[in-house]
């Protein structure tokens, strides 16, 4: 049975006069791997930022597990310069901060790796366990939560083990090779115990071998952690192989969606990508 876990409705994100996302609607169903593709500057990362509460959209709504988590409509100075559609359709404002979204079980990675650079791999993962801690600051300081602390540490080590990072657990994050940093970011995201994982260009900067391995890796973590994955990616081989469905953005607009075969043969998509050798771009 398909149950949708994430739904974007008529999302428009306008920065001043720039419409970065123009009326985007999309759905991700439970346990799917869905890819969001499109040339650079298409608005993919911005879509992630809207879902995770980094930006409040200018118009539209986001549902997570059928619960309205984000909603907005043009107001203030934006009223006058709003260049998107569906003005007037949305009348409620719901904002959540990124930490609140993460607590709802939505985790993400970043296009330009944002690890806690000077901390060890272990600490990076351990920090992601903090929000589940039931201890208040005083009892944590007085070590009254030692049982919980031990459990957090065990779970973090277990994750590092699963992601093949156990041997580098005490290395400083920024000293790790690029591929391992990407893995560590995923480990850290998984430590927040997400149901929905948003991956922003997980293969960027990886060598061909690592990229190849990523397919089975993402499949593995999906089944192991019972995840739904929404992924932004440029490596078409990876996208076509791994995705259940694909959405294509161009200049902020959705230009196509469907299963990989449909997208591969879609003329609009081919045109959008023509002349843009996106395969190995950042």
């Amino acid at each position: 049975m398909l149950r949708n876990i994430l739904r974007l409705e008529d999302i428009t994100m306008q920065f001043g006069g720039v419409v970065a996302i123009d009326n985007l609607s999309l759905e991700v169903n439970e346990n799917e791997i869905v890819s969001l593709i499109g040339p650079n500057g298409a608005g993919k990362t911005t879509a992630f930022n809207v879902i995770t509460g980094v930006y409040a959209p200018t118009n539209g709504a986001v549902y997570f597990k059928d619960k309205l988590i984000v909603s907005n409509f043009p107001k203030g100075p934006m009223k006058k310069i709003y260049a998107g559609q569906n003005n007037g359709k949305y009348t409620t404002t719901i904002k959540k901060t990124p930490d609140q979204i993460t607590k709802l079980n939505v985790a993400r990675t970043f296009q330009n790796i944002r690890l806690f650079k000077e901390l060890t791999a272990f600490e990076n993962v351990l920090i992601a366990k903090h929000m589940r801690s039931k201890a208040n600051w005083l009892s944590a300081t007085l070590c009254l939560n030692y049982k919980e602390e031990r459990k957090m540490r065990e779970e973090a080590l277990e994750l590092l083990d699963i992601l093949g990072l156990i041997d580098v657990k005490d290395e400083i994050a920024s000293s790790l090779p690029y591929g391992q940093q990407r893995h560590l970011e995923i480990a850290r995201a998984l430590a927040t115990e997400p149901e929905l994982l948003l991956l922003d260009e997980p293969a960027a900067g990886m060598n061909p071998q690592e990229t190849l391995e990523l397919t089975s890796f993402i499949h593995d973590i999906r089944s192991k952690f019972n995840l739904t994955v929404l992924m932004i990616e440029h490596h078409m081989d990876l996208v076509m192989e791994i995705s259940d469905r694909i959405y294509v953005l161009d200049f902020g607009k959705l230009i196509a969606s469907g299963v990989p075969e449909e997208i591969q043969n879609n003329q609009t998509v081919i045109d959008a990508y023509l002349g843009v050798p996106d395969d190995d771009e950042e």
Binding site: T52, V54, T97, P98, D99, T102, K103, A107, R108, F110, R114, L115, F116, K117, E118, L119, E123, L126, I127, A128, K129, H130, M131, R132, S133, A135, W137, A140, T141, L142, C143, N145, E149, M152, R188, A191, T192
Partner: protein
């Protein structure tokens, strides 16, 4: 195996420290300077560690230390001026009836309570400062943290102005300041209070909350994406840091026995900032070491430069009052130039680290003149 060995070393260090403190306590008259420097140094270590908690571990730049110390100092002083001397201390403008009532009430409390008064006074000072920190933090920490430095600096100066304003005369005694404050019973008492404060902060930093602070320092956006509420954790760090700054201020009041608003100018904050930078931003042991070293050089070891120096009958120029501060600044400059990350960087003292540094030094000197080994 190794940890038990280190534990033994640490125990030995603790015993030696206690013995030294005890020795100094007994021979106070003979080693007055060491006594003073250790007292002041360890008091400043508390505020330095608290600044490190806020700045070095949470990445918030607060410049309000002097203000919070002033709050701690005045609250502690009011608690600890003996009731029978209170009229005498406020002889110029009289004492506020509220304080008088409070002091009379304190008099009537049981004896065991009164014997705990220094600790209660320090805690009360800390709590009042924590309240102020919450009031400043709530508007400022919701914005970008850059504003915190300006807001706290402003707060600190306003605090000083309020303390010395004539309207506050019956509470703060205006520019006359407060005198006859009950002092510490011994050097060991000073060290115990400081040790409790510093241990508390170390435990906080090592807890899951401390890790959240470090995450915020490293990358706010990533920290937020890990479910860490930025405002809540920044406020927590700032409020606890201010609490301990005030405790240190209260301890300073107990040490100096008399305080006035001039003690708590911005230059006090800069002194503390300097201690933190020299010790290493993000190193607790660095801050403690640096507090003791900086205090010792400033008040003791460099005194030599302040008195006239004669070689034969030739008086060396420059050696006069104030020259020690010049030397002090030069030393600082050298430290900042050659140890950009302070004496300790972000490292903490450990016996293994000491052994490693020692070995490095040994191999360096044995390699001297020899071929370079990559």
């Amino acid at each position: 195996m190794k940890t038990s060995k280190n534990l033994i070393y640490s125990l030995i260090l603790a015993v030696v420290t206690l013995a030294l403190l005890f020795f100094l306590e007994v021979n106070k008259a003979k080693y007055g300077m060491a006594y003073t420097v250790l007292t002041k140094g360890i008091i400043l270590a508390v505020v330095a560690v608290s600044m490190n908690l806020v700045t070095g571990f949470t990445g918030l730049f607060s410049l309000g230390q002097a203000g919070f110390m002033a709050i701690g100092a005045y609250v502690t002083a009011i608690f600890l001026i003996p009731t029978n001397s209170i009229e005498e201390v406020y002889y110029m403008s009289g004492v506020s009836p509220a304080i008088l009532t409070f002091k009379t009430w304190l008099e009537s409390t049981p004896l065991w309570f009164q014997s705990l008064l220094p600790y209660i006074a320090l805690t009360a000072g800390g709590l009042v400062a924590a309240l102020f920190a919450a009031l400043i933090g709530i508007p400022v920490l919701r914005l970008k943290s850059d504003y915190l430095a300006i807001a706290t600096l402003g707060f600190s100066e306003i605090m000083r102005a309020i303390i010395s304003s004539p309207q506050m005369d019956t509470i703060t005694n205006g520019s006359y300041g407060l005198k006859k404050i009950q002092g510490f019973s011994s050097l060991i008492q000073v060290f115990l209070i400081a040790a409790v404060c510093i241990t508390f902060m170390i435990l906080l930093i090592r807890s899951t909350y401390g890790r959240a602070f470090k995450a915020i320092r490293e990358d706010e956006i990533a920290a937020e994406a890990m479910g860490i509420n930025l405002f809540k954790h920044k406020s927590l760090s700032f409020i606890i840091g201010s609490f301990f700054a005030a405790v240190s201020g209260g301890m300073l009041a107990m040490f100096m026995r008399s305080i006035d608003a001039k003690t708590f100018t911005v230059s006090l904050t800069y002194d503390i900032l300097l201690i933190v930078v020299v010790g290493g931003i993000g190193s607790i042991t660095g801050s403690i070491l640096s507090s003791l070293l900086v205090t010792a050089s400033k008040e003791w070891w460099l005194r030599f430069f302040d008195s006239p120096l004669y070689i034969g009958s030739f008086q060396v120029p420059l050696f006069k009052t104030g020259f020690r501060m010049v030397i002090f600044s030069v030393v600082l400059l050298l430290i900042v130039l050659f140890y950009q990350r302070g004496l300790m960087g972000r490292n903490e003292f450990s016996w293994d680290g000491l052994a490693k540094a020692f070995n490095k030094l040994k191999s360096k000197s044995s390699n001297k003149g020899g071929s370079k080994i990559a």
